[in-house]
Amino acid sequence: MSGGELTRPPGPAPKRVRYRLDADDDPRSAERGLAALVLTIVELLRQLMERQALRRVEDGTVTDEQAERLGYTLMRLEERMNELLDEFGLEPEDLNIDLGPLGPLLDS
């Protein structure tokens, strides 16, 4: 029977997002995909720690020595991240996860 009414979608429908780790059977590709996932999380934490450290340094809630140590540690962390990227053949751009409507995980 022709309803003639406009059908609205019945409320927010569940959206299933499948994140495909790799498009081919190359085991290295799967490994790289997994590494990208893991390193994205690591990089997220690194960036969060860095911003937190900067905030505390600017608030003046750490001593100069503590700030120096924080900065040094963060610098080494960044170096290590670059090494890990090299080891897995990843570029910085490969580190990111699209959370759909929430946008990408990493800023910029």
Partner: protein
């Protein structure tokens, strides 16, 4: 209509538009989805452009599955758009949403009759008008992730053992390497944030300026980098409704906005049939 075929709808127009001073408009050359010939179904002074489709491919179950196949969707969406785009150059029309498949001509007629008033209103509003798409991305700039460290190499050429001795809690402090790193990162983050803010503000200004020059405007969700294929974030994804005669001035205005906003990269698409302005869910929006 046989049990095996349905009717795919492309567009709706007024029946009067289908004939001109020289007789009926010739649509015999027009083919659509599945290369089926496009024909018309009329009712109550309105006409729908349709074609026959096999329910094996376009029936409910098959359609659900096929719509999830990007290659299938790509082909069908282009075939659908081709018909609308070709017809909109011949007469004013309302594009129909993709994958509207009726059980038969009778169902099409009934739909036209029931919604006749609203369809005519919509035709008055957008018929003969075109849509221009404007997308704006943040202009290319330095990324802020790892690999950004162009640190003073002399600091890093210190031997590999950088671990502080246990207990003393004092890392090497050759000239405040750590503090220098923090200063550099702070400068980078601030610059990145200011650049981003400027770009977002710029996109808002562009949208306001262009909206003022158009009959109507709609915002689409910005496309993620995976969708757009562009690394920089998309800050504006808008559609603007123009009279056909206003296109030249409008596109010039878009060019002007692009020049006035170097913090953005502006893309123009169009002219489109007025897809974004037919208000699928309610009327008069």
């Amino acid at each position: 209509m046989s049990e095996d075929s349905g009717v795919w709808a492309y567009a709706i127009t007024e029946e009067g538009h289908l004939s001109g001073p020289e007789g009926p408009v010739d649509l015999s050359w027009l083919t659509g989805v599945g290369e089926a010939k496009v024909r018309t179904v009329t009712s109550g002074g309105l006409a729908a452009l349709v074609s026959d489709v096999s329910l094996a491919e376009f029936g409910e179950a098959a359609l659900r599955e096929n719509l999830e196949n990007l290659d299938w969707l790509d082909e069908v969406a282009r075939e659908h758009h081709y018909v609308i785009d070709a017809a909109t150059r011949l007469f004013p029309l309302l594009p129909v949403r993709l994958a509207t498949v009726y059980t038969g001509d009778a169902a099409v007629s009934a739909a036209l009759t029931e919604r006749g008033g609203q369809l005519r209103d919509a035709l008055r509003r957008v018929g003969g008008r075109v849509e221009w798409g404007v997308k704006a991305y943040a202009a290319q700039h330095e990324p802020e992730g790892p690999n950004e460290a162009e640190g003073p190499d002399e600091a890093k050429s210190a031997d590999a053992d950088g671990e502080p001795a246990g207990g003393s809690a004092q890392p090497r402090t050759e000239g405040g390497v750590g503090l220098a790193y923090l200063r550099r990162r702070r400068a980078q983050l601030t610059a990145a944030r200011e650049t981003k803010t400027a770009a977002v503000t710029g996109a808002q200004e562009v949208h306001a300026e262009l909206t003022a020059k158009a009959a109507d405007a709609r915002l689409h969700p910005p496309q993620s980098p995976q969708l757009s294929g562009v690394r920089q974030p998309m800050l504006l994804n808008a559609a603007y409704l123009l009279d056909a005669a206003g296109s030249v001035a409008f596109t010039a205005a878009v060019g002007g906005q692009a020049t006035a906003h170097p913090e953005l990269r502006v893309e123009l698409t169009g002219p489109w049939p007025p897809y974004s302005f037919v208000g699928g869910d309610d009327d008069g929006r």
